[in-house]
Structures are given as structure tokens and as C-alpha cells.
Subunit: 443 residues, 2 copies
Amino acid sequence: MEFLSGVKEKETWELSALLAEDAAGRMVKTNGAVHAVRDMGSVAFVMLRKREGLLQCVLEKSETGISAKDFKEGQTLEACGVMQKNEKACGGMEMLLREVKILSQPAEAMPIPVSKWKMNISLETNLDMRPISLRNLRERAKFKIQEGVVRGFREFLSAQGFTEIHTPKIGAKGAEGGANIFKLEYFHRPAVLQQSPQFYKQMMVGVFDRVFETAPVFRAEKHNTKRHLNEYTSLDFEMGYIDGFEDIMAMETGVLQNIMRLLEEQYGKELALLEVTLPKTEQIPCVRFDEAKRLAAEKYDRPIRNPYDLEPEEEILISRYFKEEYDADFVFVTHYPSKKRPFYAMDDPSDKTFTLSFDCLFRGMEITTGGQRIHDYKMLLEKIAARGMTEEGMDAYLMAFKHGMPPHGGLGIGLERLTMKLIGEDNVRETTLFPRDMSRLEP
Amino acid sequence: MEFLSGVKEKETWELSALLAEDAAGRMVKTNGAVHAVRDMGSVAFVMLRKREGLLQCVLEKSETGISAKDFKEGQTLEACGVMQKNEKACGGMEMLLREVKILSQPAEAMPIPVSKWKMNISLETNLDMRPISLRNLRERAKFKIQEGVVRGFREFLSAQGFTEIHTPKIGAKGAEGGANIFKLEYFHRPAVLQQSPQFYKQMMVGVFDRVFETAPVFRAEKHNTKRHLNEYTSLDFEMGYIDGFEDIMAMETGVLQNIMRLLEEQYGKELALLEVTLPKTEQIPCVRFDEAKRLAAEKYDRPIRNPYDLEPEEEILISRYFKEEYDADFVFVTHYPSKKRPFYAMDDPSDKTFTLSFDCLFRGMEITTGGQRIHDYKMLLEKIAARGMTEEGMDAYLMAFKHGMPPHGGLGIGLERLTMKLIGEDNVRETTLFPRDMSRLEP
């Protein structure tokens, strides 16, 4: 009988080992994809793409039986050679090729310049050709940074006593209701795709006190803008026993600080590749909705058109104001008008036309919506009635409150938007592996 | 201007601090939900449910103005009191109540015995009342263990150089095709919910070499059994540059070892609560599909009815065989027949009626399906043609192969099934927060 006892060490070296000082002079084996080939005549350079970056391989034609013509972009191969220092090579080391074994051959030549620093292709082409356009090092780096954002979110909340949950995406009714909801047939019954884990994460506060989820959400919004997706990854948390909605903003501040620390410590290569300057998170200013509107209107001489909502341009101006006045990259805008918030938002007891809620703006764009929720059963029923809504389909949600819920609140962060603003992109599709919008359902 | 600078320490103590040796004799503050009240006459016990467990609070009526009648199951409150040692209390410490502030009141009495060790309610009732039935300590513990499983999966793969990805759940076409697929309308176009991230994770092997995803998958299977869900959380990984499909099983072995290590180190309380004995993962036996069928048939005198598939009963017998003969809790069954595997499975070059694929059985049930995939473009086209399938809608998937893909493979682990077998449940709904099956769409 054969047995497996875990991961065995491979003969092939990873890039960090190859580029280490003490690799110089050693004959080693590695593998990777041919990223680019430069034939200089007597010598050729084969750039090998590995998961940690590029390895420069040098082919001295006189010394081996290998020909530069044997290499093609998109091949994958196993290479043996001697490592040697070369200040001009990326990482300061290169491999003198001795032996090459082709693992797989591409069937056609690469149709886009994947190996270029910038591909100079349209976003449409980039998205259409995602399986290969992402092989570009800068494209790939965006999603390593995205990975770091998610890790930073989860790690911080786990350390703060949050439990990770997995809630269903198919349901009988959406959390927020409304028209922006995808419908499907579920074994001959009508069903919907969840717009957010809102109801579920609130119910779970009654069980675990603090919960988070990192999962897809689905919104059938008919907005085809640079900031909208119809499916995106939402970083959600919900916490009980809060003293006020400031606790939620304080927790988000901690999350953001941890994300930036993690990126700085472990994703330096990707940050450098994309020339990213990490935002300041030590202190995040906090301003009331009406005050923020007034400050931006006054400083930038722009009339307030809608006192109940922030227009995208106002978000930009408020962010600009706080950058100029306080050198702040993030700003919490608090006390949104009650009529623009969902029924479960806690109204401000001192003025019920406003709520104990907030958005977090980052470099001109809303990346988070959060706030305190109603936790009292009767208050919740009254709010539902006052809105002319029905309790139908909310039995389970209301059950949690009927049997006692602590004061609580939470938020949702749009992962793709946060990544987009972090790396300075201006279209949320740039930071989505496979975006879904009104016209894009593939790849 | 107000600023937020991160999470502030709270006055209220968490359970681990309350139960520490040096808390004895100290006057402290905490909060929680009233889990149970036992009025003994001159003294009453209030069990406070906190996220880490229970705190016994003692109310000596003569000493405070508080009455036992003030407490109700489901209340949430803030309590001040003096910690004292009591060997009989859970955790060896209790709080002598001095002051109590009610944070929220339940509107109705608890309809199920949430505070009992075992609730003795039907699974149907349990699932219907999920928001409160999960407040039972044993119910809650199942999902803490589930959290540990996911953490163990992610942590191990991150350390092994895998990148976490987020792929779309709405698409134009399913990865595996077939009838078991939920359909929806996407802005007047037909769309489907993904049955698995298969195509996407394979495409991303060409970008990151190694990827994983922990996300929901959707299967419109008309099986209403104890082992089927129509939406579940799939733990997927895919890895390039493999030497053979044994590399994938070795990686899963490492994942399972890490999960068990993490559970043992950090989830001891929950394991004890549910009386879980962790399975052995040091060495996992590996047996060919046809050999496994033969061994089970011979030892348990059961005729082989279908040589191309494993019946659930055969999975049970194969697991039993390896438990009895090798004291193994997991077993890899390899070389499944080609006709029962999807088109992208790599056939065994030595006998093309079998594939380089495997299932992992755990205590009688399949929890993983995996294997090596075809990486050669022409071979993939030939297989698609041989199956009478169409390439339509697979442009992006095929594009990855056209431009070169390394030898690769991967697997998907059903999170709920793994958790179920780990804690000894016999219905996968027991280890799903909010299950979706043919008849259940709520809560």
C-alpha cells in the first residue's frame, strides 16, 4: 500500500532561493513560463516568469546544444543551470542555462504584448483576454495586492475575536429589497441572489457577538459606470455590544491600519512594481454629512443641489478638502439622512432625520457603508411599518430580535473599489479578475 | 475635527481575562447575553453567554438591590461584580454581581431550550429557528470548528506560495456543463450560477502558478439526501508545475494535517464541547479505484454492481476497510474511470479508460474530488470533440491553453461535508449555517 505523508520538498528552486546570495555558483534546477526571449546573437536572454517574479536565464550558444530558436513566449519549462551574480539582472542574479526540458508548448504566438512593462491595450481588450493579459507582471501584481487586502482584513478581525461565517447567496428575499436584485428559479420557486449578507450577519451577532464574511454579492443595478460592478466581493463585518457607532469606525480604522502594515511588510515588491504610495491610516477624520457638504461647497464654491445625498463629485471634493486641510487619505462621513438609509439603520435619537451611520471615503470614492443597526424588536417593527414595508419573508430576521439582540452595527467594504483606489486606478474593472457589468458576462 | 485612530481598549472584560487566575478578587465589568437563570431562593445563578463561552454570575439577593426576577433568557446586559474562585463554576471562576445594566430586552420567551446541553429538537425545527438555535453552545461550536477548517486551509496554502483569488459566480456558461445548473436572467441575457470555479482557477494557474479560492458554488442537483446541498462552500485549489497527480494528494495531505494541528492548538474548547476525536492525517493510504472496489467487495462479501462508479455504500465499505486494516481515517481512491470524469481530466497514458484523478474519502464519505488536468491545447480540443461537446462559450478557457499552460491539477473540498465528518454528524445540514436544499430556501 502506498501512503502520502504531506508535501515533499521539490528539486526545483523557487525564486527567493535562486536570488539569495549563497545561490551564486551553484548548479540548480527551476521551472517557469517563458515570459520573453531576447536573442542578441552570440548570447540570448530568456526571461522566466515564476510566481514570485522574473528570473533572467542566459543562453551562451557556444556552450550548450540549446538554440535560442527553441524558446517561445508561453512555453513552460524546467531549466538547469548555474547561478551567477549580475547587477544588471532583476534581483541581481541570473542563471547560465545548461539544460532545458520543455514541459508544454503554446499553440499560437501571443496576440498581446504580455511581456511589456505596460501593454498599451484598451481595457476592453485587456478584459476580453484576461487569461493571458493577467500574465503581465503589473496586471498580476494588482491581484497580489488585492490578496493582501483580504488577508489584512481577516487577520485583524480574527485577532479581535470575530468569527468567520459563510451565508447563503441564494435566498427567498433580498436583505435590502428594491428593484436591484437578480431573480432566478429555484426548483419551481422564485428566488433571488443576495445583495449583501446584511440579515445573516446581523442574526449571527446574536450567536457569535462578532462576525465577518468575505464573499460575493450581487446587484442588478443598471449603472454602467467606472465605479459599479454587478457582482463584487464584499468585506463585511458586524459587531455586538458596541457603545456607539464610533466603535465600528474605530474597528475599520484598525482594519485599514492592519492592511497597510501587511502590504508594507509582505507585498513590497508588488507595491514597488505599481509605484504605490500607501495611504495614511494613523488618524482618520470624522465629519458629519451636512458639515462635509457645507465645507466642500464653501471651499470649492459649488452649490449644494441635493441635501440628502452625496453626488460622486461631492465625494471627490470632500476627500480633496480633507487631503488639503488635514493630509488625510480616508475620511468618515457620518450621520447620513434617514431617508437615504435602509430601514434597519438606527436613527440618531437627538434628530431622527439623521442616522447613526457613515460612509468611508478613500481618495474621492465611497468604499464603505456602515452604521449602527436597530436592535430593539418593537423599534424595528415600527420602522418597517413606518416605511410601508411588509414583514413578509423577514420571519427569521425578526426572530433574532424577538429573542434579544445586543446593540450592534457593522459595515461592508467593496474589495475591488478599495484595491482600485489603493493602487491609483480609475476603473473598478481594472482591479477585478473577471468583472461582471451590464454588458460583460464573459470571460 | 474628530479623528479615529484605531480600536480602543474597552472597560468590559472578555472571558479569557475574567477566568484568569489573577482576576480573583477584582471588581470588573463585562457584558453578554443571559443564557440561563437558576433561582435557588436566597441565591440565583445567571449564566452569561459570551463569545468565548459561559460566565457564571452569582446574585446574592440580600446584598444588592437586584432581583432574580429582573433576569430573562435572551436579555443582553452589562454586569459589574467581583470575580471569585469556585471550582464548580465552568472555568473555575464566577462573578458576584454588584451592578447590572440591561442593554436590551427580548420581546418573547425563548421557544426552544437554547440553554440545554442538547436541545432535543428535530433538525427541521433547528433549521427553521437557526437565528436562535445556533445560540446553543454545541450548535455554535460546530461553526467555530468550521472556521478553523477554513483558516487551516488558507494558512497552509498561503505558506506554500498559493495566491487567493475571487472568481465570478455569475457566468454565461457553467464549467462542467450538464443539467445541474441554476439559470438566471442577466440584463435580458441568459446566465448561470457557477457549479465550481474550475475554469477560472485553471486559467489563473497560467498567471499565479498556484491559486486557491474559498467561495460558494451552486448545484441544481435534484438529490434530497443527507449529503447533498444545492449551495455549499467549496475549498478549491489548483497548482502548476506538478510532476504528477500525487503532488495534488500530497498537498491535500499537508492541508489536512495543518487543519488538524490548528484545531488542536486553537479550538480545543469546541472540540471538547462536541467530544470530537481528531482524525489521523500523518499517513493517508492511496488505492486505485478498481482495487478499492475489489478489496471492499471481497472483505465484506458485496458484489460489484457498477464497475464505473462508487456507490455511497461502497464508499462506506472502502473507508471501513482502511480503518480496519490500516487505522486510516482518510483514504485517497485514485484512477477513476474516464467516462465518469469531466472532459478536462487527464487520462492515464498507460490506460486511457482511467484518469489521473482521485477522490478523498473521509470516514465513509467523499469530501474531495481532484486530479491532474489536460494542459495541452490540442489534447484538450481532441477530448472536447471526442465527447461530442462544443467549444462554444469556452473561448477564454481555451485561450489560456493556446498560449501555454504548465502541467497542473487541483481539487475541491466540500467544507460542510468535511466539517460534518470531522464532528461526527450524519447530515450535512447540521454543519451548514443556513442550508439550501430542494425544499429549503429560508431562513
